[in-house]
């Protein structure tokens, strides 16, 4: 009952973005993938959520292969990818953005209750329910993007740089919320981050990616104290 990625290789044309990457995230754990610009983090997530086809390798979630499947099918199966860049539909209202995953849910009652639970987690969204998502602040948009994933009843949450472009205080809030979601909803989380320090603080495990390759896998605690990681990614 885990996410198992084995020997995964992904190319963009002639560029190898992800090269023989292997790692495992046990159910209910929060793993963070850290690495510099261009390390291949986004590409890795996009392969896991079905947005791009990998060249080779395998990835399974709860023993089922998740590669080369349409993203909408994976989303319906509980694998939710929150893309980078505050991924909301600017032209739609907050409510409409949040409603997208309810459109295919059969059980309308539980869809409604998951909407309510998002408003509990992010009360700010409730206040802006009829506002166009394009008019939200960066932090609110990130909340909306994560909120939309929650409405879809995630089991595996793939988050791409939720801290991008946000003030430190907001980043702290978002990360605390992610931690809370992990424990309260028993989610498995893969958190891609440049903000290695903050990410490792809430993570159980850390995976360090460099130029498409895994260069370190360890408990988040150990990585936080690892001198080499500190020097390269934590900036002191």
């Amino acid at each position: 009952m885990t996410l198992v990625v084995n020997d995964l290789t992904v190319d963009h044309g002639s560029i190898r973005a992800v090269s023989s990457v292997s790692f495992t995230v046990p159910t209910g754990q929060l793993a963070t993938i850290i690495g510099a610009n261009g390390a291949g983090k986004t590409t890795l997530l996009r392969a896991l959520s079905g947005l791009i086809q990998p060249k080779s390798g395998s990835a399974t979630w709860q023993s089922n292969s998740i590669l080369n499947q349409p993203p909408e099918r994976l989303a319906r199966a509980g694998i939710l990818h929150v893309a980078d860049g505050k991924s909301v539909i600017a032209e739609l209202s907050v409510k409409e953005n949040l409603s997208l995953p309810t459109l295919w849910q059969r059980d309308k009652k539980s869809a409604k209750s998951s909407l309510d639970s998002v408003f509990q987690i992010f009360p700010r969204l409730a206040e802006r329910i009829n506002q166009n998502a394009g008019t939200l602040s960066g932090g609110e948009r990130q909340m909306l993007a994560i909120g939309r994933a929650i409405v879809a009843k995630p089991k595996l949450l793939l988050l791409d740089e939720p801290s991008l472009g946000l003030a430190p205080l907001i980043v702290e809030q978002i990360f605390q919320t992610i931690k809370r979601l992990q424990t309260e909803m028993k989610l498995t989380v893969v958190l891609v981050e440049q903000n290695a320090m903050s990410a490792l603080k809430i993570a159980d495990e850390g995976i360090v990616l460099n130029l498409g390759k895994v260069v370190a896998v360890d408990s988040a605690q150990k990585l936080l104290n690892d001198p080499a990681v500190k020097a390269a990614y934590l900036g002191f």
Partner: protein, 297 residues
């Protein structure tokens, strides 16, 4: 009085342009394809409607048949043709060119087929109401029961479309898939299926536009070519992406053409059309009715 008369004819012409414009915008905003084949789809749908009218003697059955045929043809084109095309053509300049070539090719094929089946001569559709104008006192208006029927039919279908888009789940799926296919997919929406539905809606609008258009003129394989041009210019006036803009653009163009014809010369139809197109492209390329999407940073 001339002013009022021209306004009325503008209303009736404009409503048909609106429909064609909507048909083009529906496809453009979900696929980024200017669907030249729509002129073929609409004409084929209209022939289907024509056959039903001949057989049942009912204009209304014909109208419904044309819309159903239009929806089916639209869905089939997307399902068997556009999907396959976009599976192969994904990036590079060819992405811009391929759909143009493909839909132009389809247009040629469909027109050849209709010509083969029905011949090139003009067929006429008998409208359900008289084509003459209403009379006020001793004056006959250039606007009669048929024009009224056209305006009402278009208004009703626009209202239905608006309800579908703003009030239903499938409408939200259509909007979301058009604005961001990727986010929609990641939210579990079957964007491909929704897109096919969009093509069906577009086809139905085209079929309706077609049968209303020829109820006032004549049906032949090329009957919709000019309508496609007017629909396209209307769509550009409206900003290509907006359904409300498409409707408004249709009426603006319908009015402009009728006024130019009434007050300047009957030769003014195409010069007016392209003058407006060029003015819009020069002065407000995003369309007269484009709204801003909110803050950008």
């Amino acid at each position: 009085m001339k002013l009022f008369d021209t306004f009325l004819t503008g209303l009736s012409t404009g409503s048909i342009y609106s429909l064609m414009s909507i048909a083009l915008v529906l496809v453009w905003r979900s696929t980024r394809v200017i669907n030249f084949a729509q002129a073929g789809q609409a004409v084929l749908s209209t022939y289907v409607g024509y056959e039903i009218i001949v057989r049942t003697n009912s204009f209304w059955f014909g109208l419904i048949a044309a819309m159903i045929a239009g929806a089916a043809i639209g869905a089939l084109i997307d399902f068997f043709f556009m999907r396959a095309l976009f599976k192969r053509v994904k990036s590079g300049p060819i992405v811009l060119v391929a759909p143009v070539v493909a839909t132009l090719g389809l247009l040629g094929i469909i027109q050849a087929i209709t010509g083969f089946i029905w011949g090139l001569d003009n067929k006429s559709i008998t409208p359900p109401v008289t084509t003459g104008g209403f009379t006020i006192g001793d004056r006959t208006l250039p606007f009669g029961p048929l024009n009224l029927l056209i305006v009402v039919a278009v208004t009703v279908s626009l209202l239905i479309l608006a309800i579908i888009f703003q009030r239903t789940n499938i409408g939200l799926s259509l909007r979301a898939s058009a604005f961001s296919p990727e986010i929609s997919k990641l939210s579990g929406i079957k964007v491909d299926a929704i897109r096919t539905f969009g093509w069906a809606l577009s086809g139905a609008a085209g079929g309706l536009a077609g049968i209303l258009f020829v109820s006032n003129s004549a049906l032949n394989p090329n009957a919709m070519d000019v309508l496609l041009v007017f629909g396209f210019v209307s769509a550009v006036i409206g900003g290509l992406d907006s359904l409300i803009g498409a409707v408004a653009g249709g009426f603006v163009l319908g009015m402009a053409i009728n006024f130019a014809v009434a007050y300047i010369d009957t030769q003014m139809i195409f010069p007016t059309t392209f003058l407006i197109l060029i003015l819009v492209l020069l002065l407000k390329p995003s369309g007269l009715f484009s709204r801003s999407k909110g803050r950008r940073d």
